[in-house]
């Protein structure tokens, strides 16, 4: 029924949750340093690594587990933007944080629904 996709769904959502968790810490770090002179904000590189998966999904080919090899969230430091208003940085970070929180909760909900489908299969469709 689920074919080979069930394991990769859980693995992929776990990776995305790790990325969202790391991104929240990076944003909290940026907010804590909003008054540090010369501070370069931290970013998380994750979605950029999913290109192979995205093209596979676009072509309709089954997603291979090997495509997830080497994919993991990485912290990067963005170059210092000179002349950038500090308060502008603060509100951008807070907006990013709100978006990231919603993303995290959406991922959790998706994982919960996936597990509910599995539970339904285990119960032979009975409640």
């Amino acid at each position: 029924m689920f074919g080979s996709t069930e394991a990769i769904t859980v693995d992929m959502v776990s990776l995305a949750l790790d990325a969202a968790s790391m991104r929240h810490q990076a944003i909290a770090h940026n907010i804590a340093n909003v008054n540090s002179p010369g501070f370069a904000p931290m970013r998380v590189n994750f979605e950029e690594q999913l290109g192979a998966l995205r093209t596979a999904l676009g072509d309709g080919t089954p997603v291979q587990h090997a495509m997830l090899a080497g994919v993991h969230p990485v912290l990067t430091r963005s170059p210092v933007a000179d002349g950038l208003d500090r308060t502008a940085m603060l509100d951008m970070e807070v907006a990013d944080m709100a978006q990231n929180t919603v993303q995290y909760e959406a991922l959790l909900k998706a994982l919960g629904k996936h597990m509910a489908i599995l539970a339904s299969a285990v119960n032979e469709g009975k409640r």
Binding site: Q25, A26, A28, H29, V34, P73, L90
Partner: protein
Amino acid sequence: MDYRNAFAISASGMTVEKTRLDTIAVNLANIHSTRGADGKAFQPLSVRVTEAQGSFAAGFTQLAGANQLRGARVVQIEPTGAAPRQMYEPGNPDADARGFVSLPGVNQVTEMVNLAGALRAYEANVVAMNAAKTMALKALELGGGQ
């Protein structure tokens, strides 16, 4: 989610902003002080803030992951060296030979603007901490009946 590190990062930011608020309060409280504790005139203070680095993380950024994020820390609270204001007040015991009293060079407007900035930054740190709490609590709900 490693929520303890997220809390520690936000807490470090709150500590820094609280220190800035305290320093501004000291400056404003001493706006009319003609004599400091050591007999010399009071100097307006400013806080130097920098990014906190994890001691382990240096050179192991790939391995340490999010644990290299430590928030901010106060380097030093140092006098700004602003020139004192002179006020003519011959009756004051701290007046010099010409009758002028030296008051600290505290700029009330600058202090109030810094106060508002520190307050907003503190609030942003509280928001970040609450977001981490919401995320951690949501993660606890996973698997608990849909």
